[in-house]
Amino acid sequence: MDPDDELEALRAQAGEHAAQLRALALSVDAAPDRVDEHLSSPAMQAVRGLDPIALGARRTVAMLVELARGDAGMVLACPGPALAGVVTGIIGSPEQQERLRSAVADGRGWAFLAITEPDVGSDATALRTELRPAGDGTFRLYGVKRYIGNGARARIGVVLARTGPGPLALRAVLVDGASPQLRARPLDMVGLRGAQISELAFDGMPVGPQDLLGEHLSPLRRGMWGVMQGFTTVRVQIAAMAVGTSLAVHEYVHAQRRGWRTGELAVLDRAHAEIAAVHRLTQRAAAAVDADRRHTHPASLAKLAAVSLARTVTRRLPRLLGRGALLEHPLLEKWWRDVCAFEFMEGTSHIQRLHVAQHCLKNGFDHDN
């Protein structure tokens, strides 16, 4: 199939599920712990099946924009391998990939990727969670992870921890979500509540050689390297969800009235042109990720632009509907809260700025790309 036709077909396929995701969005936002009541919905099952590594970034972005046009909070509430699947897909062995896949295969299981800690966020290389040698070739996992998507309800997950000092001692391990040495609690967040952000405390969880990701890779590639590649992949996904949410807000506001005044239409048109531009930027970043995942800056740039866009659109367009639009239209209020989360996921805007600037200062500007 022609690549453009293929992307169009994927968009159409995803678009079919968007309405259903949106229909569930407010109830999952109000009660994220009751999401399992909706798991049999075809839309949630379709999102679950989305495999960003197998699909590649361009196809994933095409689908995610459409799904987030339904509701991004619902996309992140769906079961499936999620971020753990991305990292395991990059540095896991075929057996580990299969272990993750089968843990969530019944369509009712979640997975997590745990990196952030209470005292360590942006600088993941400084994380403190420890893999202490048990003396028999195995380890015990100790530490606390915080702000972990779907953490408290996951059956399985990937944890980044250290076996000693220095960045090369960082290792990703596949862990069992039901382990008695894991205490998990959901956190009450402002938005994107479907993702059930959680805190996880590991108190001596046994970790064997079969749980260590990247054993088949060189020491340079098995830890932070693989996770960084995963970040690049996921960064364009966040940009795609920010674009999708911006489109959702635009369409929603536009549909509320027939008789727009000229000045108001100009505001809507300007917003649409900006959304379309950032959409193209995100597609371009996705193509760059497909070409080489080691190039982080196009994804950083797209995320920087998309997060800022989504903030502006969710704040300003509802005002066209008059005073109190965020009270009158709970979905607009929800999206206004949700897009703030994108700022923090896979690196804050300051961190993306550093990536973009460092790339340009080192490699020049390459203005045509």
Binding site: G191, G263, G322, R323, L327
Partner: protein, 224 residues
């Protein structure tokens, strides 16, 4: 309210909000007899416990005295974290139309709300700096990073400028709308300084999210 009174109230509200928070600041506005703005269908946000002290409601284009309105209290999950409640106002009997002017008159409430938002911004900026001082990366506090210092400087500059904007007794509606816009943006800059911790509902910086919602519920239409 006279411009002189508004200017006295502005300084006081800024201090109340800085020291006692959003609900205290809004409560002081409402106790001052300022009508509470509502959406076209009568929705608005206000602190729990001040309903009995509301003098009047401002629906777009009309003022409804409190004794001529039926009030229904509704839930609002985020508003409640800051001690606010959502209400729906339905006017009984005839309404008093508001004066129509070439440029819509900003409600006094929106002007005073800017002072409350300013006080909250100042308080949260101090809290953010304290937080980043204790967050050590590569052996030094995050406050030593120049990007963080730029964010702090920009926020202080916006705050000081807006304090003077709000000093103007003849402030045009468009300038007030612009001040709220800058408060929104500076508030977001400060919110991001707390990292994901600031995205917890229990985190004090939620006051800036909720103040943004109150602005949405109170702002004067047609300032676009």
């Amino acid at each position: 309210m006279s411009p002189a009174l508004i200017s006295v109230a502005a300084g006081e509200l800024r201090r109340v909000a800085r020291e006692r928070g959003l609900a205290a600041g809004l409560g002081a506005i409402i106790r001052g007899g300022v009508p509470v703005p509502c959406s076209a269908t009568g929705l608005t946000l206000l602190p729990v416990g001040v309903l009995g002290e509301v003098a009047a409601w401002r629906l777009p284009g009309a003022t409804v005295p409190a004794d001529r309105a039926t009030v229904t209290v509704l839930a609002h999950a985020l508003g409640e974290t800051e001690g606010l409640t959502q209400v729906r106002i339905v006017a009984r009997g005839e309404q008093v139309p508001s004066q129509r002017t070439a440029e819509p008159e900003p409600d006094d409430a929106v002007l005073l709300l800017a002072s409350v938002r300013l006080g909250l911004l100042e308080h949260m900026l101090e809290a953010a700096v304290a937080h980043l001082n204790s967050r050590i990366v590569d052996g030094r506090p995050l406050t030593t990073r120049q990007m963080i210092q730029a964010a702090v400087a920009d926020t202080v500059t916006v705050a000081r400028t807006i304090a003077h904007v709000l000093d103007d007794p003849e402030l045009p509606g468009g300038a007030l709308a612009e001040a709220h816009e800058r408060l929104d943006e500076a508030g977001w800059t400060v919110t991001t300084l707390f990292g994901a911790g600031g995205y917890l509902r229990e985190h004090p910086v939620r006051c800036l999210y909720v103040a943004g919602l109150v602005h949405d519920a109170w702002h004067t239409d047609d300032y676009r």
